[in-house]
């Protein structure tokens, strides 16, 4: 863990990142880590990389990707023009859970949102079935403020 760094993801990291998404017990069946990767991943990676407000980050331990998350800033009028800081897609490799990697990633996101300025909160949504994740975020100081609703299109 002494070498753990949080750094921007590169396209070459995708083969290491997608298995983290696909191995999730709640949502993993939506993703496919088989190679060659579905071209949608590289296409959206390019869209993320082209947007200064979007930060796809990995936790790198000695050259191995052991976690991933995305931090996105969105301007809004509420609160006299405050910005929203969204954390999305937080995944830690299954064999590396319970070692503080998730907490390091969330702390990085909170620091980045403070450095960005204009963000009163760091916010995220988490599937109602992820009760362990909710407790994890509450231990980090998050409060359950809102209902997250989705309309299938």
């Amino acid at each position: 863990m002494s070498e753990l760094t949080i750094r921007p993801a590169a396209e070459a990291d995708l083969p290491a990142i997608i298995p983290l998404l696909a191995s999730d017990p709640i949502s993993g069946d939506r993703d496919d880590p088989s190679l060659p990767l579905d071209p949608g991943y590289a296409s959206t990676f390019a869209s993320i990389a082209a947007r200064p407000d979007c930060h796809l980050m990995v936790a790198d331990d000695g050259g191995e990707v052991v976690g991933v998350f995305q931090l996105t800033f969105v301007p809004g009028l509420i609160r006299k023009g405050a910005w929203r800081a969204y954390v999305e897609g937080v995944f830690v490799r299954a064999d590396r859970r319970g070692q503080g990697i998730g907490a390091r990633m969330v702390a990085w996101a909170a620091d980045a949102a403070r450095a960005h300025g204009g963000c009163p909160f760091l916010q995220l949504t988490s599937n109602k079935g992820r009760t362990d994740a909710h407790r994890f975020y509450e231990r980090l100081g998050f409060q359950r403020t809102s209902e997250g609703l989705k309309l299938l299109l």
Copy 2:
């Protein structure tokens, strides 16, 4: 209502938009509609207008702003590179509630997300105290899928 249109907000609409935010019983005390407006509103309006992924829209009834919302598209890796479509800051003028304006705005957002492509859902978060809003969204087909968590920065 026959003249109701959903159109992009202009900076000149801000003096009509901010009172909708400020009159909200749950969150309105965060905003200030007094003139001249806090410069944060125009500053963030410019940031929104500069971003092709951010759409600040108003419901305009014969030249009067009677509703406002923001639709934002965010690229993400999950679901083979799906995009997220976030609706934020949905407000209808107090004297015009119950007339279908909110439903028209959400339907516009859903149509825009379908037209954008790559968005499996339209999603939003709503303060846990807004029980009427939750019922409203559920009537429109939304499901309460997630917990919304915030960390105060």
